[in-house]
Symmetry: C2
Subunit: 343 residues, 2 copies
DNA sequence: CGTTCTATGTGCATCGTTCTACAAACCTGT
DNA sequence: ACAGGTTTGTAGAACGATGCACATAGAACG
């Protein structure tokens, strides 16, 4: 490697010499530790400012904290994660912490790699979004590093905190809204995954859907179609569903991304939305608002989820050992795609 | 912080003891350095495997490399970046390197923070996408850490490599395509930024647009409208443009994200696309393919851009000091939004 | 059988922090 | 004035790698 920045780096030692104090003293000031007088603190602060000192993260990682939080996303595709990130960053605004993202690329191997990479790099904590991992492994992971999980229901977990919206309720809202608008034959398009019962967000939404359908006396119309996450697979599933004999009047999609594909397929098949078909998504991402989509969706406030997860994580890093499980109440945002239809 | 992993960590020393060799020997094996015999290498490898050794990134950062590459994105919104990331990861597949993402959140302050954070964390190199930074600062940054830039034209820069598509050509293709389809009054919707002349991708696209319009004898129709990146601002600009007296027959948008908003506004105003208006985007993101958008766009192959940038960056880390500037030839993907219209 | 050379393996200083143990200085209250 | 306590500052040993400088053992040669 080309030689860079030899001895010109401003270290804690440089600052100490400049301020005329010991290295330990500077370290104390840096860490806001006990045992520094006001004047000394000021003198050190001034020197740091003057010299443009920046702490060396790797060196910190050797001993104490790195002040780095890892965020693991299942993929960057889903625009919902943008909201979460902005919440996380907002919570970290006036702290020393910085976030670094890792992308799980949906594949399980990549997910494990990202996790290992973050542990190797001594992240102080991890915010894990939509983990695809059985609870024992999550516990094992939480034993190694403080962790908060978003979008995974495990209300009894003690080793880590969780932040969720009430997916069961959200799905209920969708069904009630559609029923109220006059739809009866309502199908659900969900995610095809090796199911880790009850924990997955999609499972909760499915349960909510089923329950609400039953409560509305629509048991005979219950239909859940599973599909992989790829556009091609989603389109195929939607096409099959819309061409089938008992064609649904409305489709509830587990996430907006899927709903957009359904709109596309409906469009291709010459179906009007609404009119020939009602569509509802989940997450209320920015694309819902576009007039060509006008997609009714459930807002679970990614901002709040992100903010809370960062808050909980820092609490845990600071020493809390009991678990907290934060739940946001979702809310339906009605748009054109689920307008009432005369039948 | 709660006490975790005390002495149970497997370090290079543990491996050395297990294999019955010196610490230095293990280090040599790790680094593939000169001066290790085959048998010793095997013995050490076996021990590492057996003990599940993982190198401590922070410790490495103190002396040598961290094997971590930073990728800086201007925002996560733009789905185009997904493609870039998958290219980057593909290039790093069988190497020791890992990527970590930082998000610039569009704001300049955040951008600087992310850069600092990455330097503090001793990233071996940085892939900087769409930097908002004048050349002298880029040079200064490149002096501190090996760097490759995507989406910023500075073909004479020596301190860093660049990877781009030919934005000038791409814009030309758009205009030629629209002209061929019968459009004459073609406006461009571009990004409002403190311009760093010529370097910005948008500037290049503007220049290409202007040149192509002139070449087509449409000088009198040249019109570039600038707007900020927020949905609200884009919508306002589009609305104003579409309501103006010399209303354009077609709009060329500097990126798909903007084009989707334009489609939305046209939709709201009751205009048909195509028919009343032609729209073309840039980047050929997944959303273009949805039937409700059917957006004609320029494909600049984010995959290739990502792959090349990772390749170049590693070359630079390994010692190359001359600059390379890689340019991809863009290609137009025609969809419904720019269909010929009888006039 | 020395001498020189090469290949292989080791010892240890080093990187920039943190933090424990300790020294020094300063208060108190008798 | 002195024991005891508190506050403020310092010395120096870690942390887990890297990589230079060196030791040692054979090999090759005259």
């Amino acid at each position: 490697m080309a030689p860079r920045q030899k001895s010109d780096r401003v270290t804690i030692k440089t600052v100490a010499e400049d301020a005329g104090v010991s290295v330990s003293a500077v370290s104390k000031v840096l860490r806001d530790a006990y045992g520094v007088s006001g004047p000394l603190r000021e003198r050190v602060r001034a020197s740091m400012e003057k010299l443009g000192y920046r702490p060396h993260a790797a060196a910190r990682g050797m001993r104490g904290q790195t002040y780095t939080l890892g965020v693991i996303l299942p993929d960057i595709h889903n625009p919902f994660f943008t909201d979460i990130m902005s919440g996380v960053n907002a919570a970290l605004e006036r702290t020393q912490y910085q976030t670094l993202l890792g992308i799980g690329q949906s594949s399980l191997g990549a997910q494990q790699e990202v996790i290992d990479a973050m542990i190797d790099r001594q992240m102080d904590g991890i915010i894990f979004i939509g983990p695809r991992m059985p609870p024992p492994e999550l516990d094992a992971l939480a034993a190694k590093v403080p962790m908060t999980i978003i979008a995974n229901h495990s209300p009894t977990a003690q080793a880590y905190d969780t932040v969720n919206n009430d997916d069961f309720l959200g799905a209920t809202l969708v069904v009630q809204h559609l029923v109220h608008a006059g739809y009866r034959n309502i199908a659900m398009l969900s995610l095809d995954l090796p199911p880790i019962e009850q924990l997955q967000v999609t499972t909760q939404r499915e349960l909510g859907y089923r329950q609400a359908m039953e409560d509305a006396g629509l048991r005979q119309y219950i239909k859940v179609v599973m599909s992989e996450q790829t556009p091609r697979a989603i389109q195929a599933a939607a096409r099959q569903l819309l061409r089938s004999r008992g064609r649904p009047e409305a489709i509830f999609c587990w996430t907006d991304f899927v709903a957009l594909e359904v709109l596309s397929v409906a469009h291709e098949l010459g179906m009007k939305v609404p009119g020939d078909l009602g569509v509802v998504g989940y997450d209320n991402t920015t694309y819902c608002d576009l007039a060509q989509n006008a997609l009714t969706s459930i807002d679970q406030s990614g901002q709040v989820l992100g903010l809370q997860s960062a808050r909980l994580l820092i609490e845990r890093i600071k020493g809390r050992t009991t678990a907290e499980h934060f739940v946001v109440t979702p809310r339906l945002v009605a748009r054109n795609s689920s307008q009432p239809v005369a039948r």
